[in-house]
Symmetry: C2
Subunit: 458 residues, 2 copies
């Protein structure tokens, strides 16, 4: 069945891809202060795109951090109102040397568009804008009431969005929340996500002598901050990969038998996954499959450790400082702040003599899980089926969208997590990319979803 939006997408494909490239050229890296202006410029670009498409009340709204883009179109009386959330900020790009083409010079090859943010999440933010554009252009209006909310701090834990949402509860009120920031299970297996892990981040800073010391002259006299740090960090896991912080697993909701059986039917091959990731064997908490470990079990990962000399050859010093960056992925019913405090206490208890240690509590986000029998969620699976030929699977995810829990707590609306990226698309790594096949099918999925919603929800 060909539809009018089908034709519209075909005829404007080249133009859309060029506009997408323009959006991907902004180096909107939210964690790096030197990119603050780029993040702001990217917000402006999205706001003007929303305005051109036909949205109203378009605003770039300041927060204590990066701005939020808001826009709405509320001209479908007696029809449902949806809040569409996405983020236009991106992860850092290091190591830059591993990118085949520069991260902010989008390049299309082999049916994929390569750039930082192409899949996570600027590409999908763009798809939402273009799906609405197609409906505007082909029907003159939208079948539902729409509010857009695109933030610039998702990659740093949505630092200021909770207070923003709290301050604008009336403005943001809607019947459902739709987010496209979760990957599909596979290229031909669209998926609707009903559970996300939460996040708890910490930084550990070990301070030793006031300057780097000559290891010949002083080696043996003082505690080496790196020695202290590796002892602290090694104490965080046991030999088999369990987190060894007391209380870490206390509030973890047990995996239900039905869930375990459902996961088993998804057919994830552990050997295929090992091959895809380039490791000889998978590894992790005993007693769980890799899928279970990444979806329903919490983790504690070292994201970075650094101190002392990193150049070629040798440098015979005792460094003055050593550092580690840690993030945990949390599952219901773990409390992020409680977990942060448990880890900080564990670190203090395991600090060897002769070193001073500071633990800083950084980002946190609550884990999320929702029943998937809501009609808006069932409709998402159907919309995927119309575009892809197969219904969506209902899955959980290992990643975190901290703000989902905030929306849930403040605005009490169900979240529909319908994404179009693939796990193999290197979201936080060099050579991030996005499949143009999913770009094309995703645009259609969204249009099917919006046009189906009035009959379903009302």
């Amino acid at each position: 069945m060909s539809t009018s939006f089908d034709t519209y997408f075909r005829e404007h494909r080249e133009q859309h891809l060029n506009q997408l490239k323009d959006l991907l050229r902004y180096p909107s890296i939210s964690t790096l202060p030197e990119h603050k202006a780029d993040v702001a410029d990217c917000a402006q670009y999205i706001a003007s795109m929303a305005e051109q498409i036909g949205f109203e009340n378009v605003q770039v709204m300041p927060t204590a951090g990066h701005p939020v883009v808001y826009a709405d179109y509320l001209h479908a009386p007696n029809q449902p109102t949806v809040l569409v959330y996405g983020h236009y900020d991106v992860q850092p790009v290091d190591p830059l040397s591993l990118w085949e083409t520069p991260p902010f010079e989008p390049d299309i090859r082999d049916g994929k568009i390569y750039a930082r943010g192409s899949s996570d999440d600027k590409g999908q933010v763009f798809m939402h804008l273009k799906a609405f554009e197609a409906l505007f252009k082909t029907t003159g209006t939208l079948p539902i009431n729409v509010k857009l909310l695109f933030e610039g701090e998702e990659e740093i834990g949505s630092l200021h969005l909770p207070e923003f949402v709290e301050a604008h509860q009336d403005q943001l009120k809607a019947d459902i929340l739709v987010i496209s920031d979760t990957p599909m299970l596979g290229p031909d297996q669209p998926s609707v996500c009903y559970g996300l892990r939460g996040l708890a981040a910490l930084q550990v800073d070990v301070k030793g002598p006031k300057a780097d010391l000559h290891s010949g002259i002083y080696g043996g006299a003082v505690q080496n901050p790196l020695h202290a740090l590796v002892q602290i960090l090694a104490s965080l896991h046991d030999q088999e990969g369990r987190v060894a912080v007391p209380g870490f697993y206390d509030d973890v909701r047990a995996l239900r038998d039905e869930e375990r059986s459902e996961f088993a039917t998804l057919g994830q091959s552990e050997s295929a996954l090992a091959q895809e990731l380039g490791v000889k064997d998978l590894f992790g908490e005993p007693g769980f499959t890799a899928l279970e470990r990444t979806w329903v079990r919490p983790t504690l990962e070292l994201n970075g450790v650094y101190g002392g000399f990193e150049g070629e050859g040798t440098k015979t010093i005792i460094p003055s400082e050593a550092h580690a960056k840690i993030t945990c992925r949390l599952v219901p019913d773990q409390d992020p702040e409680q977990i942060q405090r448990a880890i900080a206490n564990h670190i203090r208890a395991h600090t060897p003599p002769g070193a001073e240690v500071d633990v800083t509590l950084l980002d946190r986000g609550r884990p999320y899980v929702t029943p998937f029998d809501h009609p808006a969620i069932a409709l998402a699976s159907k919309a995927y089926e119309q575009a892809y030929g197969v219904p969506a699977a209902f899955i959980r995810m290992g990643g975190s969208i901290p703000i989902v829990e905030t929306f849930q707590a403040l605005l009490q609306m169900p979240a529909v997590l319908m994404g179009f990226a693939l796990n193999t698309e290197n979201f936080h790594s060099p050579n991030e990319h996005f499949s143009l096949e999913n770009f094309d099918k995703g645009l259609r999925t969204l249009c099917y979803y919006w046009t189906g919603l009035p009959g379903t929800l009302k």
Copy 2:
């Protein structure tokens, strides 16, 4: 008592300091390939200085690495021949941000000259050249036969000097070896060193997934290379600071009671040392004083650990790789290669599942100790006394001059280690400097030494 060289040094002080600044401007960092040409230029500068002073057979001799500068003046028949060794290469300068003035723009303030290499060892190489210049200019000749040997690879373990010395044994033959690359015990306590620690360096590289992974999607599925690395590194020491590698202490020569008593008379204050280094407490192998731990006990130090994200904020990745740089300081009778192998075996035995580990054996140098009753060593103490007013103490050192052991083994001559730097002068750290008081007194000490040698050794 004023001497002719005294007058010479006074009259030429300004000129000498300007020439020293010129020498210190060469960024002759031997470990960084991008500074190869700077190291070569620095060798040329030293060679032309030797030529201008009056040395003969001046040569910049290539090695498989950085070149060696050789020169001699052999016109004192029936008098002893000395080989003067020094190095014109320097340590890297990072972290650059901590330097108060740029490392290669020498700056004189508070009676000190600040620059990388000012004390270790270009400043002292320069003093040898200027001491000989003073003797040439005031007496028209040298009282002894002199061979100069200045290398460009000391900071990377004198990689190619052993084969160079072996290939040029006849050319380098001498009665004694004189080196100024060891610090004095304190500002008013000149010292002659009779023992040095050896060196054994290794690099550990842990390889995990083929690219950095999103910690939400894959956290829990694979071994994190940083987790593997910190477990390996934490296993290298016990909780109290002893090295935990099996066999590490097997060949360590026990500390003699007389030596322990002698060290005790040197009056090192541990609380003063802690304050100088900016730590609350010193720390190290139980059962030994800090002086003993740094002079006669071996160590294993992490000089650098790195992997993953180092920027501000958080980046939720599992890094693909993790690395560590290790150097050991060794004492008689430990064998550097045997120690490297013991550590490599220990690392392999402590590698957790799911990670691949490479251990690379890098620089090594044997520890050195010599009896100090040789007349050339006694004369050094007397020469210090003439310039400083106090005789030199006989001390051991925690640092390494790997080539001392090579000279000993190949050329069988006693080494006189008479240096003029101070431990507080930040040799391998930001803001390296050299006291101009020791520069002035050191020039005189060397002239007293050379003029005293004919009567003493002959």
